[in-house]
Point group: D2
């Protein structure tokens, strides 16, 4: 079977680079187009990355594939949907609002941008958690008269928490969650992202709009698709999001109230035994387990655990009873914000929908 | 009036050095004795700090006072209580268990160690919050047959939170608290403390025994002295304590449930208007305000705010409603763990009890 | 005697804020005007610092003086020289090229920008080192037909090294210098300055144009004023400049070849005994000693030593013989790049020229 | 051909763990014995790593191999040389002085410790640079009456510099080197290594004994084996070694004086074309190139470049003429201090001597 021809919008930024690294040697998807701002258009990709000061602005640890380095970059506005089977979008939200609908008229668009996350006919997918929401794109296509569709992935801070809550919601039910995040700098990108002078020997206690995103998205992801719309889960979610001097990997301190009594051992088992939606299990980018619960009380740590299973697993530790909430438990998790929480997470969604036969 | 002659136990360690810096030019207290391990005994203090590799192990930013540098260090075991009016203790908990009671037979001992914090006849004092608990030392003296007493200060992570909860408890009542801390490295000391290889680009999600301390101490501090004993406050407290790559200043993300409805503005006003126990207000080490609520949503930050009012104020920001807890609010605080949370906090207690006439 | 009325150009940036902090309560200078970009014009200074996201962009540790907070900011283009006695300039080099000459027609301009550093009729002043160059401004005034003049300060990396070389050049003569710098992030400012993702767990081995600046400026500063022009010192200078994850304080590893034999003790004494130009010694911002040589082999360290004497002293350590260069010595120095190396250094120059009677 | 049976002395420390990670799936060597302190003896290796606080003290990023986890640890004193073909030593220098000679009576010992580096009959090997020194072990065996021998690897700071100097020495000759290092924390190990409080927002300008090691070792490594002894190279070496807040990868700023004129292009070509000793080229741990010269002026950076070719290549950048030294050039290098500079470097030496037929 031929590989899907994919175009990447926003190819030169940090998020775009993560898509390029993650799509190298992909069994089902081939990157055949790269789009960026008009400033880069017409240049070979490696050339577009070269800054005026001589620096090569390739920021991910994986090497830039030779074939991509030579590929000519086109302007986002000039991308022709007919040349591709699918599109990945790594642009900022305001650009996404223009370019994603234009492409979605003809082809599926998998997006890391927040622009369409909160639309009623747009699913917000984490394959093991809510693969069942994917068919909402049919409704989207019908309503908007599109042949393609837009499927965004959640905010990177939502992803790890939603994954750990899913097995608890399934086995015990969940009533409320209070979460404090200690987020990595990579989540803020590089334009300019987090300034060194601000974060060294420091914590920044506010990430604009982040808390609202996590609160709304968690309820949508854990919700159910009924009658062509998603009914949000009635879990109450409250969080405080902070930034710390960590390169990659969000750490989250979670307090959760279950709907019924459980023991620590049962909570741990629920996470350990969870395999997620069946259709998600053997996708090319799927890890052997979505959640790894660690016994060492000093884990998870972002530097040691973010790359577990290629950055696609959420690591959990210190599962304990909480004395305040009803049927309360508390734990910490680490989730790789630019792997499972960004490019690789979007690719996983494309893999899912291909497996579900929803791309056609 | 003559100054109180004070001996410092554990003078060469990081905590001891903080006492020395904080007692420089103190209006009521004069450091007239320095005690450390037998290895240092007999040496001038500056000499005792000199390591075999030539390094001068003076770690606080303030300069080492000339008079202290020349003072001869004695072994902790040889300290004679009769030569002093009070003692400050900066030793580890296991040493504290031996040396503090010996001195307390004759003189008051103000301690940063946890050894006696949980004894029924020992008050755990934060002057603006619970100056009223101080007379419990009379009970302690009676029971133990001592002329002096032991008063420890709380764990440094407890202090900032207890201070911010006090005005809420007084004005609205509080029912429960869920807290996640992002603690500075200085709290772990230097023996070896936090290793650079462990904390750079990382978060450590566990600080042994810390969470239990905060939970028990908060209830004791906010409790009431009745019939010669402290009845703990019935607030339920649950926390998760983590370590981040910050030099000084603990950041805490607090979710609190009040006993009655309130607005954000009322909560902020309660903190801003709070002056604490009257007797604590004009102590030499007291800041102009115990709590500073900041309007900038990006504050408090440990590096920018830890030194507010000489490290004696707790800074608060991002006071918001919380949608999960009943009458819930959430905010962040920064508290200087080695000033208000350690040496200067213990000195403040000595100042308090002097003002209360309890030293005699 | 009335204070000098000073206007500050570039008042809202990080460098401008450092001028404001340094001029608070200055005995001879009063900040009576603040200029910034047209975007800030017409606003009160505190208002101009408030970002759209609610953040107050005041970045120096000292508090923003109340009187400055309320002062109205004008656009740089609208500043009228006649309203002031002197100007301080904290703008970028390209802006400096426009605004500094316009003001210099009428009043002295003391600048942290590099725009005019390399002009033949412009002295580059470090008061203790080359106060004797200051009268070159008379030549500048004559040539350009100005009533005022422009005097820039050196690059922050040049300053500490030139100060330590001065006593060696005076006492022994110097033939060549090889230096590697480990520079703080604050030298790069905040627009965007050094990105956290680039510097954490890392070293950046290149700072564009920095090495050339240090090489040229050192020779000019150590040169002599002869016949209305500065003859550069014939010392050969070569350096490699790197950036490290330090907030403030440049560390420099220096290898120097003297013109004649000397012992380590003589080199140390030369630095310790050096008092610099007599006219510079009692200036309000002058430290008690320009150089502090430390005996502890683990010093100087930027975090511990950058603030020595208010950030106006250069600290030196590890003075040793070097076996490669002729009469070779090596040592390390720490210099505060945004105090002596920036705003306070420029203010010191204004103080110097006032003392020299060159402002009139 | 059967694999060599290797015992690892010092198996539980950080250096020992690096040997374990590096020997996983090695084609010629099998780890069949693990030795540590008596405290660990008798325990399974994974058990020996478990600290009393529940932490698993496995610090390298690679997973602990299952077979090693179960292997029983013996006390270093009880290791029987007859059970092994070779030994790797990752112990501290004082322990090395006892245990290494005892084993060397019977089998070759490859050591990361400094204990025997400076003995006249002991070669200090970097395979591509001085494979020709290896036969010196025959002299060592003769003199000491051993069947085995001891071969240490150089200090991790020496390695990268010696590798970059080798092609210059071969093609142009070298007269002198001045180097300033910016060293990673991992070089100091974990007992306690570099304390977080000392290194954050800081540089430590002194690493005891390091500079002397680099100076002596570089001359020995670049020397020549003549008449059963190594005549040191007559290059003069002077350095200043500092510690920075970097996890892994030493950065070194090098100034070198060549024996004859050359252009930057010739210097770069000399490094790029260098393949090292022929016998070293196809060893299992050898990288495709020992030196990678990067064109981007912002490279090499330790975080981006330390892992080049599995941490076995030295990356070089910013090769420029130096105006001070005769035929002077300057450049920066990054070398992985715990891969090529430690365990993997020692394994490479074992591979070399096996290929040279010197193990028998």
């Amino acid at each position: 079977m031929a590989k899907l021809r994919a175009v990447l919008i926003g190819a030169t930024g940090l998020a775009g680079q993560q898509f390029i690294a993650a799509l190298k040697d992909h069994p089902h998807i081939e990157l055949t187009g790269l789009a960026a701002s008009p400033r880069s258009a017409g240049k070979a990709y490696a050339e577009a990355l070269r800054a005026s000061n001589g620096m090569t602005a390739w920021f991910v640890p994986e090497a830039l594939p030779e074939s991509i380095a030579k590929m000519k970059v086109v302007s986002g506005e000039e991308v022709q949907a007919k040349d591709y089977d699918i599109a990945f979008s790594a642009v900022e939200s305001d650009v996404a609002k223009e370019v994603e609908p234009r492409l979605a008229k003809d082809i599926p668009v998998f997006s890391a941008a927040s622009a369409f996350r909160y639309e009623a006919d747009v699913p917000l997918l984490i394959p093991p958690v809510n693969a069942a929401h994917a068919p909402l794109v049919r409704e989207q296509q019908k309503r908007r008269g599109w042949k393609g569709f837009i499927v965004p992935i959640p905010n990177c801070t939502t992803t790890g928490m939603a994954i750990t809550l899913a097995p608890l919601a399934e086995r015990f039910g969940i009533k409320s969650v209070l979460m404090t995040s200690l987020q990595a700098m990579s989540g803020a990108g590089r334009s300019p992202g987090v300034i060194g002078l601000d974060i060294l020997d420091n914590v920044i206690p506010f990430i604009p709009k982040e808390e609202e995103k996590v609160q709304v998205e968690t309820k949508k992801i854990l919700g159910s698709l009924e009658g062509g719309a998603i009914a949000p889960h009635d879990v109450r979610v409250s969080c405080t999001c902070t930034r710390v001097a960590v390169m990659e990997g969000h750490t989250e301190s979670v307090f959760v109230s279950l709907s019924r009594k459980a023991s620590v051992q049962e909570v741990v088992s629920a996470m350990r035994e969870w395999r997620g939606a069946e259709v998600s299990r053997n996708l090319p980018s799927a890890p052997p387990r979505w959640i790894e619960v660690l016994d060492d009380p000093f884990r998870p740590q972002p530097r040691l655990d973010r790359d577990t299973h290629g950055g696609m697993a959420t690591t959990v530790g210190r599962v304990r009873e909480d004395s305040v909430l009803e049927n309360g438990f508390k734990f910490l998790l680490v989730s790789h914000n630019t792997k499972m929480g960004a490019a690789k997470g979007a690719i996983l969604v494309a893999e899912l929908m291909r497996a579900q036969g929803l791309l056609g």
